[in-house]
């Protein structure tokens, strides 16, 4: 018979405020098998842990139940505590009296009753616990960084500089992300390319970094220290090892003015063979197979023609003829690369709210109503207008420019309820740029309130207003329409308390930040979760802000939530430090609470093989008897096999059928 000790925690007033902890503790002593029971203010504190250790030793306790907060919070803490008292750390069961009882129960009596039920169940379960020993796994000291924006670049460089290998996967033809699209950056107005380009080059040249552009992660298997990842390297149709980056092909593609360039937010064209921008890294063009005439034309080999008739040839092929290196290869195919990594870093960034959803601002159909990102490209000297601020409708300099903040952000009806955090600041920056480049132009900024919390941020907005004379109007614009060659804005000035009608030549919408459209799919591939908006969920917003709920996976930058460059770089550095900590281990302890299949009971029906979401079970044969076997390193301990196994051969260690049944029995019996 076990000798169980029960420790009920007050958690300050968190549990004790709703649960009669003294009564639960007093009643617990009567549960069969319990030899000791007490309650205390904070079990997790140093003093609290000492009480537990002493009680175990004095009363020869061999199994422990702690009634406290969620096991997610302190299970590990208490495992270490009982280990110090000489017990196997798995001789522990936590009854969650906080998240499952006191925080969610209004009535004190029912809370106390439920708390006691949970303690009974825990005693029943722990009585049948068996000692478990963790296995050991080696750590593959290589990191995979997904996304090559400033977040991924910073994380990759920091990890590589610690001496570890990094593979960076970027889905576009070049790294750089959104920051590469920006002109100047707040709050210091330094040029974005000047601070970013050297880092992009560092990534390409770093001996520890391998860069895979135009690539995507297709599959992720395994566990911390040992992830098996499949990467799809999309065919570029240009041989990177030969291409010199002369771009002769790009200038000759007949479609070079025909396809909207995504990098320019569609406001300037590219060809079917292209590099997205001049400073692209790597500076190797790719052929877009959706548009290339050669690739779209039918393969002559597959065409049957009547005798004597000529077979039609492939169309175009100009780039291939022009390339002196012979780097163009139309036969190229997607490549699947399988690699092993110890850690995965997600740095996939963000997207922008679609202005088409605002019918009152012309639903994207008024040429002079553009977005902040369009404006970044416009003021950039390598952008579509070579840095000239002009009205897209007629190419003339605007005399009056209006900015509208919170387009899509803080709008529960049409957009998202949250604040995108960066738009107040980039609008102030853009207002300054307009006044700098066009000193005669008037600038108006329509805002709800100004959120400029950051070092030097409020001062920056004040500069836009005082030094640069941007006129800030507090109020929403309700409609924009074209009239006689200019725009009419209808708005409210909520400080004057008056409706306002204003003419302008150009309007710039600060569209909010949203998650990338494929973020949920990517999260599913990796086996992690996203929040309601599609941003990656962190384990704890305060204490584990870059960890995600799958060990060995980390996230940084705007993939977590909208943020500016300083915050992005800070989280990227934090991720690198966490990866460094992980890689400082040669060996990791693996969780022993994994499935185990008893070959003597197994009837080899194969049900478990089919249901295992991690493909951790295979069929084996020994001396003519077939049975299923779990690869313990791959098993994630989900328990699906154990639920599917009819004879009960598959059992999850630490959660066996016997333990579960005993805990149910305990609640019903005593």
């Amino acid at each position: 018979m076990s000798r169980v000790g029960v420790f009920i925690c007050h958690c300050g007033a968190n549990i004790a405020g709703k649960v009669d902890v003294a009564k639960v503790s007093d009643d617990a002593i009567n549960i069969p098998g319990v030899v000791y029971s007490s309650h205390q203010k904070y079990s997790c504190s140093e003093a609290g842990q000492k009480v537990i250790i002493d009680a175990i030793k004095e009363n020869h306790i061999d199994k422990v139940v702690i009634g406290s907060c969620s096991p997610k919070m302190h299970e590990n803490t208490f495992r270490k505590t009982i280990e110090q008292a000489g017990l196997n750390p798995y001789m522990l069961e936590i009854a969650n009296l906080r998240e499952h009882v006191s925080w969610v129960t209004a009535d004190k009596d029912s809370a106390t009753r439920k708390a006691f039920d949970l303690v009974k169940a825990a005693v029943g379960k722990v009585s049948f616990a068996k000692p478990l020993t963790p296995g050991q796994v080696t750590v593959e000291k290589r990191a995979l960084v997904i996304g090559g924006g400033i977040a991924g670049i910073q994380a990759a460089l920091d990890i590589a500089n610690m001496g570890y290998e990094v593979v960076m996967v970027e889905k576009e033809p070049s790294i750089g992300g959104r920051m590469a699209q920006l002109d100047k950056t707040f709050p210091t107005l330094d040029c974005s390319a000047c601070i970013l380009s050297p880092r992009m080059v560092d990534v390409a040249q770093h001996p520890n970094i391998r860069l895979l552009t135009y690539s995507e992660v297709e599959n992720v298997n395994g566990y911390v220290g040992n992830f098996n990842v499949t990467i799809r390297k999309k065919a570029k149709f240009v041989d990177e090892s030969i291409c010199t980056g002369c771009l002769e092909c790009v200038t000759k593609c007949p479609l070079k003015k025909k396809i909207p360039n995504e990098f320019e937010n569609g406001k300037a064209p590219r060809g079917a063979i292209y590099v997205p921008f001049a400073q692209a890294v790597p500076k190797v063009p790719v052929i877009d197979k959706e548009h290339c005439q050669w690739l779209l034309s039918p393969d002559p080999d597959t065409i049957e023609v009547a005798e004597g008739e000529k077979k039609p040839k492939r169309k175009c092929g100009v780039c291939q003829k022009k390339c002196e290196q012979g780097a163009i290869n139309f036969e190229m195919e997607d490549e699947l690369i399988n690699e092993k990594f110890g850690a995965i870093v997600l740095a996939t960034g963000f997207n922008l709210f679609d202005q088409k959803k605002y019918g009152e601002y012309g639903a994207g159909e008024i040429p002079d109503v553009i977005t902040g990102l369009d404006f970044e490209r416009m003021v950039n000297s390598s952008g579509p207008t070579e840095g000239k601020i002009v009205r897209p409708s007629n190419g003339e300099k605007p005399k009056k420019v209006a900015f509208i903040q919170c387009v899509g952000s803080r709008d529960e009806a049409k957009g998202v309820p949250y604040c995108s955090r960066i738009c107040c600041m980039y609008t102030a920056k853009q207002a300054i740029l307009v006044r700098e480049k066009l000193p005669d132009a008037e600038v108006y900024v329509f805002y709800m309130d100004i959120r400029a919390a950051g070092k030097g941020y409020e001062e920056f907005v004040l500069r836009a207003q005082r030094e640069y004379g941007a006129n800030y109007v507090r109020g929403r614009v309700s409609r924009i329409y074209e009239q006689d060659g200019h725009l009419v804005l209808k708005a409210a000035d909520t400080i004057l308390g008056m409706p306002l009608e204003m003419e302008a030549d150009m309007v710039i919408l600060a569209t909010g930040s949203i998650a990338r459209e494929d973020s949920v799919a990517l999260a599913n591939t990796i086996g992690i979760t996203t929040d309601a908006y599609g941003f990656i969920s962190e384990v704890h917003p305060k204490l584990k802000p870059v960890e995600v709920p799958r060990e060995g996976v980390f996230a940084c930058g705007a993939a977590l939530s909208p943020r500016d460059i300083p915050d992005t770089v800070a989280t990227a550095g934090a991720v690198a430090a966490k990866v460094g900590v992980l890689f400082s281990n040669d060996i990791l302890m693996s969780d022993p609470m994994v499935a185990n299949i008893d070959p003597m009971i197994c009837v080899a029906c194969g049900a478990c093989v089919e249901v295992c979401p991690y493909s951790a079970i295979t069929m084996e044969e020994f001396r003519g008897k077939k049975f299923a076997k779990v690869n313990e390193a791959m098993c994630q301990g989900c328990g699906t096999c154990s639920a599917a196994c009819r004879p009960g051969a598959a059992q999850l260690r630490g959660q066996t059928d016997e333990q579960i049944l005993k805990s149910i029995e305990a609640v019903l019996q005593w």
Binding site: Y358, G362, A413, R479, Y481, E482, Q483
Partner: protein
């Protein structure tokens, strides 16, 4: 045959008879039945809800109960549509008003009836492909400014139809009828109808802005879907040209009159102004000439 309960409302019996007859003609051509709500009463529009919201819901609720015997209820007048729909939304969760109705022998079952405008009903038919092969007299080359006014799609939580700021359903109907919808700025701007007695100046300024916007966008006609808007936009055009800076007069027609023309409905039912009919034919002719030249 699909059949709607039809709620003409008071305007369609008086000032907007052509809206009534043309609506019936259009749905007849589409093969959709319209059965008038038996013994319908005032919808309470414009006034009732300003006095007492519960009373307004009960007044409109009576019509909903009567309609529920037939099916979903279609209202051509935007103002009727909004009062009925607002009542329907309120009745869904307010059991007290339901009880009041019940005491008067009218039992409202939540979810029993949906309120839609004639624009929505026609648009549904369009989406179901019910126009196919029926546009025998397309309105070629006719530039139409579709005017939705303030009540057809707003407030969005109640109207539950189309984009609230840039509705396109009527534009798509006009396109289906062979006409050319114009992009314009004032399709949902308020026409100020309710204020004409209180502040004539304000109303006429609003109307002038709407009509000038349609004229500047190059429209031949404005299509309306509400008898109140229609009356307001039509009535004082010559006076506004003199006193309010209206650029030029522009005909206002019901969208159902235009649809009916394209569907080759009975001319008498459509009752289109002779002047407008001549314009429609002129545009058709121009279209044909262009084709011949091309």
């Amino acid at each position: 045959m699909q059949t709607y309960a039809y709620f003409p409302g008071c305007s369609l019996e008086t000032s907007a008879k052509e809206y009534d007859t043309s609506t019936r003609a259009v749905f007849d051509k589409l093969g959709i039945g319209l059965k008038e709500v038996p013994d319908w009463s005032c919808c309470g529009s414009s006034q009732a809800h300003k006095v007492d919201r519960d009373m307004a819901a009960a007044i409109a609720g009576r019509n909903l109960v009567l309609a529920s015997e037939i099916g979903d209820i279609v209202a051509p007048c935007a103002s009727c549509f909004m009062s009925l729909k607002e009542a329907a939304v309120e009745l869904e969760h307010d059991s007290e008003i339901r009880d009041t109705l019940k005491e008067n022998g009218l039992e409202y079952l939540p979810g029993s009836v949906r309120v839609i405008s004639t624009v929505e009903a026609a648009h549904n038919a369009l989406e179901k492909g019910m126009f196919e092969g029926k546009i025998t007299k397309p309105l070629k080359n006719l530039k139409v400014a579709s005017y939705y006014g303030c009540l057809l799609v707003r407030p969005p939580k109640i109207a539950q139809f189309d984009d609230v700021e840039n509705p396109m359903s009527m534009d798509r109907l006009m396109e289906a009828a062979g006409a050319t919808p114009v992009k314009w700025s004032h399709k949902t701007e308020c026409c100020g109808n309710a204020y004409i007695m209180v502040d004539k100046d304000m109303t006429l300024n609003l109307v002038r802005n709407i009509l000038n916007a349609a004229v500047s966008a190059g429209a031949d006609v404005v299509a309306a879907a509400c008898p109140l808007c229609h009356m307001n936009l039509v009535m004082r055009q010559p006076y506004m040209m003199q006193k309010y800076g209206l650029k030029s007069e522009i005909p206002i027609v019901y969208f159902s009159q235009l649809l009916g023309t394209a569907l080759n409905a009975d001319e008498q039912d459509l009752d289109i102004d002779g002047e407008v009919m001549r314009l429609i034919n002129k545009r058709r002719q121009e279209a044909n000439e262009v084709k011949e030249v091309g």
